[in-house]
Amino acid sequence: MRRHAPMLKASGRRQDRRLAGERVTRVAWSGDGRFAMVGTLERMPVESVFPQLEPLLPLVRKPVQYVGGEVNSTVKVWDETDVRWALLYPDAYEVGLPNQGIAILYEILNEQDGVLAERVYSVWPDLEQLMRERGVPQFTVDAHRPVSAFDVLGVSFSTELGYTNLLTTLDLAGIPLESKDRAITHPVVLAGGHAAFNPEPLADFLDAVVIGDGEEAVLAVTRLVREWKQAGCPGGRDGLLLSLAATGSVYVPRFYDVSYLPDGRIENIAPNRPGVPATVRKHTLLDLDSWPYPKAPVVPVADTVHERFSVEIFRGCTRGCRFCQAGMITRPVRERSITTVGNMVKSGLQNTGFSEVGLLSLSSADHSEINEIAIDLGDCYEGANVGLSLPSTRVDAFNVTLANELTRNGKRSGLTFAPEGGSERMRKVINKMVTEEDLIRTVTTAYSNGWRQVKLYFMCGLPTETDEDVLAIADLARKVIAAGRQASGRKDIRCTVSIGGFVPKPHTPFQWAGQCPSEVVDERLRKLGGALRADKQYGRAIGFRYHDGTPSLIEGLLSRGDRRVGAVIKSAWRNGARFDGWSEYFSFERWTVACQEALAPTPVDLAWYTTRERGYGEVLPWDHLDSGLDRDWLWEDWQSAVEPAGAGEVEDCRWSSCYECGVCPAMGTEIQTGPTGERLDGRRLLPVLAVTGGNDG
């Protein structure tokens, strides 16, 4: 799930602009393969680099992704603003454009007077090479302004495998890679997003980090940047960073020192100057109805991964799946009301022209009024050729009923369920409370309602997992096909088994777990594939999708790494690491070489960061970043998961009593759910499109 990127920060400088004209930082290509800064003071405005970029566009793949100008994109006059944000999604345009976090912050910031926000995406290596050859600096897609001219470069990380792309963007922008080398003329590099909840591997490269929801955070940062600029940039760059750190909710890595024990473990993490708090709190947005963003997201001309208008129907999840970082760090559950959802869908479709609506959340079928939302939206858009989709992987019959409702006029192609673990024992360990009986009943309902294909999602490499747990996936798939053939009376139904490698994540009960070695994962998947293929009766009805385990291991390194991993990232990047989330660009060898080189002076290595189990007393790199979860609760839940006599179960606090994960009291928050009892009025929503007869396909 792609979610909200908090980001903040602002860069020092530019106080002189109003008087002396623009201070322009020019970027020059120097002989040693890096951009060098040629700081100059000139009386000229920040100009578009498009004239330099344009001749390169006929030479690259899909040039339209670099030109901007999309419906709902915003270009403001530079000189009429005083706080300027560049918002980077460190992946390709096709992935970054649909990202909800960037879309939300882009709108919120541009709605403010005197504030400007433009979007930046990673350029593919073909354009990167041409930009280096011709000395074209990193640009925004909105006005093609050089990124180095902005006050803040906000970066939203959805995955750790985007870390190297940040370095490419910084380097192309002419911004020094390391925070300590930046001057008051450089943007403040501020990270957010789920993959910034442990920013320690990026500590050298980031000036500041916001963890949690970004909506209010970006406005708070904007205010501090403006005050600092208006006051004449007191204290220089550090002065601004200090004022941000003093809020207690912006993390400035450079203001903390980390010391290590002889064996390589962390001894202590502590502030290194007064006015900096020992721990940094995450941001939590309450009352989502007051923040109905995005209202008018940018409509891409280029092809992107999600071609729909998405509404987040709630934030947070309390199901307590022990592997799930998103579910742990976004607590508590906060719903949008059915009325707000209806209004957002209406105006969103009107503003974008999309023909599909996605009802997003971590477990959309859990909304207290999801049934009413599905029925009412279905009524409102009957015959309007609007598709509704609901990413939900809940394994129960209600989910099928909902899916039926959402597809009442359309094709029933495939449904996805996520049992996550192949055996009942495994599912107890991860606290995914689904019995085999539940699953069979659910898929039977799906097949008998006309669904022809069911996709089952599992993880491999979970704590305490054995070969038998993984081979149980084959048994399950066989039973699914057998039940499906019986229920539907047809032989052409299918089931696809899709497997992801488990990566232990910070701020989860599994944060102490040893990651399963990639060879073990690969071997188990080989056995599972063999078992599926060997099945004469059902094998051909079962599809099998998986990837090799090595990218997961690097994701594991970056997820739970500390500051020493920064040197690994830099080394891998210097050796060409780009777009590590893309299999055609990822090189495991490049990363293992980088680990050997960069970690040589330390007592630790790749295995130490990944497959090693941590103890209760070990200082974890993110212990000073407070997601609200009580560390002892996490530890008890971890112990309960691996209890040899059988794992303990944790209920969802949305329906049952509080189990004291700690978030609500620590953050001063509460669960916010319905039902509201309201319904959507079809006639009010209908006029979005001119609906005419004869076209109700």
Binding site: F50, P55, L57, P58, K62, P63, V64, Y66, V67, G68, G69, E70, V71, N72, T74, E107, N110, E111, K295, A296, V299, V301, A302, D303, E307, L349, Q350, N351, T352, G353, F354, S355, N385, G410, K411, P687, V688, L689, A690, V691, T692, G693, G694, N695, G697
Partner: protein, 247 residues
């Protein structure tokens, strides 16, 4: 933000009285001439089609949909210019389930489409875009900085050829075509901003693109720069005595 640009859901001015439109389906075909300008010339034909599908929805046009499991809006596109080439004369055909004023459709579409994908004219039409309606195009290739006197002899030499074979890698592999045979006329002109080539090219299979003609000229002389110049389709239609006649 986008709200100003959004097209409201007010009823479209209709050439027929409202009422009954939802039951009695009135089919109307509109021929749309549009341009691909500036940055939007980097949009591919698929990108343009996506923009129109969304634009038609934002504009609230009563577009007809195909039947079946996955209904598609009934918009048919004539062959588009290659990605990176600009155009003042692209065509598509819309099928509406309710009659609408052509000018209102143009205005609404322009408010709903990205700048650079610009609707120039909307006219009532009998529908469909068979290849027989679009058999030739007029193109311009800008050659700023190149003196016309350097180009004229090259053009004369090209026109004197009986054959000008060029190759291009297409989705169907390396295709060989005769650039000379497709060229109806080719001349050097001097619009504002410097020298340009103006040409009329027949639509052939495989298509001879302006880039192919330029490559054939490069085979004759090396005066042309290696970088891709700005190329624009100015008109498209059938061949008449005085050039390309609109469909």
């Amino acid at each position: 933000m986008g709200s100003e640009a959004a097209v409201s859901g007010q009823p479209l001015p209709s050439t027929r009285p409202a009422g009954g439109a939802n039951t009695a389906v009135t089919i109307q075909h509109l021929l749309v001439r549009y341009a691909k300008r500036g940055k939007m010339r980097f949009a591919s034909q698929l990108d343009v089609a996506r923009a129109f599908e969304r634009g038609v929805r934002r504009a609230g046009l009563p577009i007809a949909y195909s039947s079946g499991f996955t209904p598609h809006p009934k918009i048919s596109y004539a062959g588009g210019v290659p990605t990176g080439v600009a155009s003042e004369a692209e065509y598509l055909s819309l099928t509406l389930t309710n009659r609408a004023e052509a000018d209102a459709v143009r205005e609404r579409l322009n408010a709903a489409l990205p700048d650079g994908i610009d609707v120039i004219a909307v006219t009532e039409d009998s529908g469909g875009l068979p290849a027989s309606r679009l058999t030739a195009s007029q193109w311009q290739i800008a050659l700023p900085g190149l003196p016309a006197d350097d180009v004229v002899p090259v053009v004369d030499e090209f026109l004197a050829l009986t054959e000008a074979p060029v190759e291009r890698l297409t989705s169907k592999g390396l295709r060989r075509m005769d650039a000379r045979a497709a060229v109806v006329s080719l001349e050097v002109c001097s619009p504002e901003g410097g020298t340009a080539l103006s040409m009329v090219v027949r639509h052939t299979v495989p298509a001879v693109r302006p880039e192919d003609v330029l490559n054939a000229l490069r085979n004759v002389s090396d005066v042309f720069p290696a970088a891709q110049p700005l190329m624009t389709r100015l008109a498209q239609g059938t061949l008449g005595d005085s050039g390309v006649v609109k469909p």
